[in-house]
């Protein structure tokens, strides 16, 4: 069997098997995990340049469809399937209502998206991915809310898909072909002549990608959907599915490079606009995140905030910008996966998603706590963990272009990410442990293996970034740009400086050893229970102090609300709501016509005929 085809067929077969054996939960989970693993094995069979084409007779037209492996697609495939293996392995012990067969359908669709050479296959796969994930979200814990989340997501996805479909038809009408490559080169060709046409068509596609990645102003569905999706699916949703948009952007971004388009600060202005969409997304996500009390929603905001970073970087479409963006896409997948997997582990143990009801879990789940800690350190961009290198490169890419306002905004978003990460860290893991969690236990052995693996990966790719940067360099090369110089697996080469991550790692390790040595050498300490705490001379028992009362995590950044109030007044959510309401109103008005009274129908028919005749007469 052709291994390109196997990447599509194996998940579908697995999906069918999982659907049949749905009743036996463990078997279904096992099938899901094994299918992901087998699909991953087929990845070793394929190499860059592999191609497979077939012809489809459709309405008398002979359409050429195909699959092709480019450096970008193989990078995406490895990334997403490997993460899927980790997640499905973790899910073997997870009890949320995640349907394995839908996940496998998503996998097949995602493989097709990354390999498709024609717009028909791309669109079909896009829809398959969209619908299987929508159905998945219906299985959330809270029925009413998860239905709302799924429908919100469905509406936005459908909007995006329509937009893309119109784009596809316009494009194929112009060129007479559905091949992605010839369409893009055609657009490049006519860009100088009809820039507005090209931009119009491309923005139709970009709407779909922006919806999928949750880019401002289409970010509103993200918190609703992530917040209500089944726990076991959220990591996939935020780590993997948000990257489809990035892949889509990269199809059309090469358009403006080398073309004669008016530029702003040395950057073609469509790219400049896209960069601003990215920067605003990054800031909006960070600011909204640190006001959340629901932990899944908090990280939903954080997720699209990071997508804003990625978009801003790839929009530059310079070697360093593209490298930084792809690198951040990888790192985001990794640290977001670690964060979300630990978060759902905690949620499954404590049974709530409200952070103000948690606290002090570190005493009960030490390994989960450590994994989460390294995850947020990476997300905050702290060396030597994965996540530092890409943020560092993004800043350099932005600075080298002289984009002062966008850079400061991104820096602000990066610091604000510190705020929400610390808030989640404190509210979930630190502080006072409530007595109702006395029986909470650490995750099962399977969960422990997953967490250790993620912990290792976060450190490994932090200190040896070359393993990711090498494939990224070939992606950069395939886009016709000059890749950044490489000098070994431990180096990250930026625009202004280069860094040896191993030497940083060694320095940090040495100072930590010194720190622990000092800790051991100097005076002794004795451990006290958490109740033994400074209470300003009061005796806690006198006023019935409970650990919950002594935990400050609700409205953690309350003073900031006042400063940010003007920005929060802008409600994009409200815009979509108003749009929905007016659609409903028009629908109601149209419904008024269909009263069931035959007389009115007759009038309508006659009126329609008259209009039809007059219109025909005028036209001819």
């Amino acid at each position: 069997m052709n291994s390109l085809l196997a990447l599509l067929i194996v998940p579908v077969i697995g999906s069918a098997a999982a659907a049949v054996l749905q009743r036996y939960r463990l078997v279904e989970r096992l099938i899901t995990f094994l299918t992901f693993s087998v699909t991953f094995l087929f990845l070793f069979e394929i190499k860059i340049g592999d191609i497979l084409t077939w012809h489809l007779d459709f309405l008398g037209k002979n359409l050429e469809m195909g699959l092709q492996i480019t450096p970008l697609s193989i990078f995406m495939l490895y990334m997403t399937i490997a993460f899927g293996i980790v997640l499905t392995f973790y899910n073997l012990s997870e009890r949320s209502k995640m349907k394995g067969f839908l996940l496998l359908l998503t996998l097949a669709a995602s493989n097709w998206i990354f390999m498709s050479t024609d717009l028909i296959g791309f669109f079909f796969a896009w829809e398959l991915m969209g619908w299987s994930s929508i159905l998945m979200i219906f299985g959330g814990k809270r029925e009413e809310e998860s239905r709302h989340g799924a429908l919100y997501y469905a509406m936005m996805s459908i909007g995006g898909s329509y937009s893309m479909l119109i784009g596809i038809f316009l494009l194929s009408n112009l060129t007479g072909t559905f091949s992605i490559q010839s369409n893009v080169s055609y657009l490049t060709l006519i860009l100088g002549l009809h820039p507005w046409w090209v931009l119009g068509i491309v923005s139709l596609f970009f709407v779909a990608f922006m919806v999928k990645s949750g880019i401002f102003p289409f970010h509103t569905w993200v918190p609703h959907t992530y917040g209500e999706a089944p726990d076991g699916f959220v990591p996939y949703l935020s780590s993997v599915m948000s990257k489809y948009g990035v892949y889509g952007f990269l199809i059309f971004l090469p358009l403006t490079s080398g073309a004669h388009v008016p530029s702003v600060l040395g950057l073609a202005w469509p790219n400049y606009v896209l960069l601003w969409f990215g920067s605003v997304t990054a800031v909006a996500g960070s600011v909204l995140a640190f006001m959340q009390d629901d932990v899944k929603k908090l990280f939903a905001y954080s997720s699209f905030s990071n997508l804003g970073f990625i978009l801003a970087a790839i929009a530059l479409f310079t070697p360093i910008g593209l490298t930084a963006g792809m690198f951040h896409a990888f790192n985001h997948l990794l640290f977001n996966g670690a964060i979300f997997i630990t978060v759902i582990a905690v949620i499954s143990k404590v049974g709530t998603t409200r952070m103000s009801e948690m606290g002090g879990i570190w005493q009960k789940m030490p390994l989960t706590f450590l994994t989460f800690f390294v995850g947020i350190a990476a997300a905050a961009g702290i060396p030597p963990f994965a996540g530092f290198g890409s943020k560092w490169m993004i800043f350099q890419a932005m600075i080298s272009h002289g984009l002062i306002f966008a850079t400061v905004l991104l820096f602000f978003a990066s610091i604000a990410s510190f705020l929400y990460l610390m808030r989640a860290f404190h509210a979930i893991f630190l502080g006072q442990l409530s007595h109702k969690y006395d029986n909470v236990k650490e995750v099962s052995a399977i969960g422990k293996i997953t967490e250790v693996f993620l912990l290792g990966a976060l450190i490994f790719f932090g200190i040896l970034p070359g393993f990711v940067l090498d494939p990224i360099n070939s992606i950069v090369n395939s886009f016709g740009l000059k890749p950044l110089p490489t000098s070994g697996y431990e180096y990250i080469n930026g625009f202004f400086s280069s860094i040896n991550m191993v030497s940083i790692f060694i320095v940090v390790i040495v100072t930590f050893i010194f720190g622990f040595a000092l800790f051991a050498v100097v005076a002794k300490h004795k451990k006290v229970p958490q109740e033994d705490n400074y209470t300003a001379g009061q005796i806690p028992q006198d006023w019935n102090l409970t650990p919950e009362m002594y935990q400050f995590s609700y409205d953690f950044y309350e003073p900031m609300d006042k400063e940010l109030a003007p920005f929060l007044k802008v409600k994009i959510d409200g815009f979509f709501k108003g749009f929905g309401e007016s659609v409903e109103y028009i629908g109601e008005a149209i419904k008024e016509i269909f009263t069931g009274n035959v007389q009115i129908y007759t009038y309508l028919a006659v009126g329609g005929l008259v209009i039809f005749v007059i219109a025909g007469w005028v036209v001819w």
Binding site: P383, I399, G402, A416, H426, P547, P559
Partner: protein, 307 residues
């Protein structure tokens, strides 16, 4: 050979750490003395901070569990790590990695570690203090980002070592002359970074019981003191390297650092504490305006790099 080299670097690293710690403690002591004289007190001897540290490290104390211990160690270890990349006078231990943004992020790891330790203690005062510290950080880091931006574009490099060498050859080559607005923004941001009045909301003595430090005692408070002293050395050192042209030798370097710290102390002596949201939004007004203005001037002068 590699091992010998490593051992040499290790011993040099120890030396740098000890020097930075001693300098930071000395600055702290002198600062207390100056403050006392301004308030017409006699004040403690300027070696008081050394005595305090030795006392603290030798006293038994209570721990709130291993996350508390780990957090406090992680509070000062990365600070020392960041120090190894700082050009101190003519000497840099690891010059090939002295990227400015990397140092700034490494310092943040220390804050993250410290936050983890004090929050693990489960005292709401430390949680309030930490939330204030973070809110203040989102204030002062933004103008500082604009300054980093200006310096990067102006010097066309990200290495602190190269930024220093570019300023060689006298006062007129210093970045303070070439980028005065950026220096002003940094100086204000420095006040916030060091947590001195009017930006001492996180500690806020007599309001939230010293905030993050409320549960610290004995060696843990000692570790906090190490973090603060090394942080003081590091932050003033970065500003010296960025704007005051580094230094030909260690003593001049310290002297320049002290000038910066002296300004901080004087401001600290005369201003009251702001409320936290006022402090944060203050950084988004004047300092940010100065920083961005400086960046715009740099862009107009030097043009954007050709990418």
């Amino acid at each position: 050979m590699v091992i010998v080299e490593f051992l040499i670097k290790l011993s040099q690293g120890f030396g740098i750490g000890a020097l930075a710690l001693a300098t930071g403690l000395l600055f702290g002591g002198i600062g207390r003395k100056i403050m006392a004289r301004i308030q017409r007190r006699y004040g403690p001897p300027f070696t008081q901070n050394f005595m305090d540290l030795f006392k603290l490290l030798s006293k038994g104390s209570v721990s709130h569990g291993w996350a508390f211990d780990l957090g406090l160690v992680a509070g000062f270890a990365p600070m020392l790590a960041a120090l190894m990349f700082l050009p101190i006078g003519p000497f840099t231990l690891l010059p090939s990695d002295s990227s400015l943004i990397m140092i700034v992020y490494l310092m943040m790891m220390a804050y993250l570690g410290m936050a983890m330790g004090v929050l693990a203690s489960g005292n709401p005062n430390s949680a309030i203090g930490m939330s204030r510290a973070l809110m203040l950080m989102v204030g002062y880091e933004v103008p500082f980002a604009a300054v980093i931006f200006s310096v990067y574009l102006f010097s066309k490099t990200g290495y602190l070592t190269q930024i220093v060498t570019q300023q060689a050859g006298g006062f007129m080559n210093w970045n303070i002359v070439k980028m005065p607005l950026g220096f002003l923004a940094t100086e204000i941001a420095l006040q916030g970074m060091l947590g001195e009045k009017p930006f001492d909301q996180a500690i806020a003595p007599a309001e939230i019981a010293s905030g993050p430090m409320v549960e610290l005692g004995g060696k843990y408070l000692g570790f906090g003191m190490i973090q603060h002293s090394v942080g003081l050395f590091l932050e003033t050192g970065i500003v010296v390297d960025l704007f005051l042209g580094g230094a030909p030798n260690f003593w001049i370097f310290i002297a320049k650092q002290f000038v910066l710290y002296f300004i901080v102390i004087l401001v600290d002596a005369i201003l009251p504490r702001l409320r936290i949201h006022e402090a944060t939004s203050f950084f988004w007004k004047l300092p940010l305006f100065l920083g961005i203005l400086q960046a715009v001037i740099v862009i107009i002068q030097g043009g954007v790099l050709n990418v």
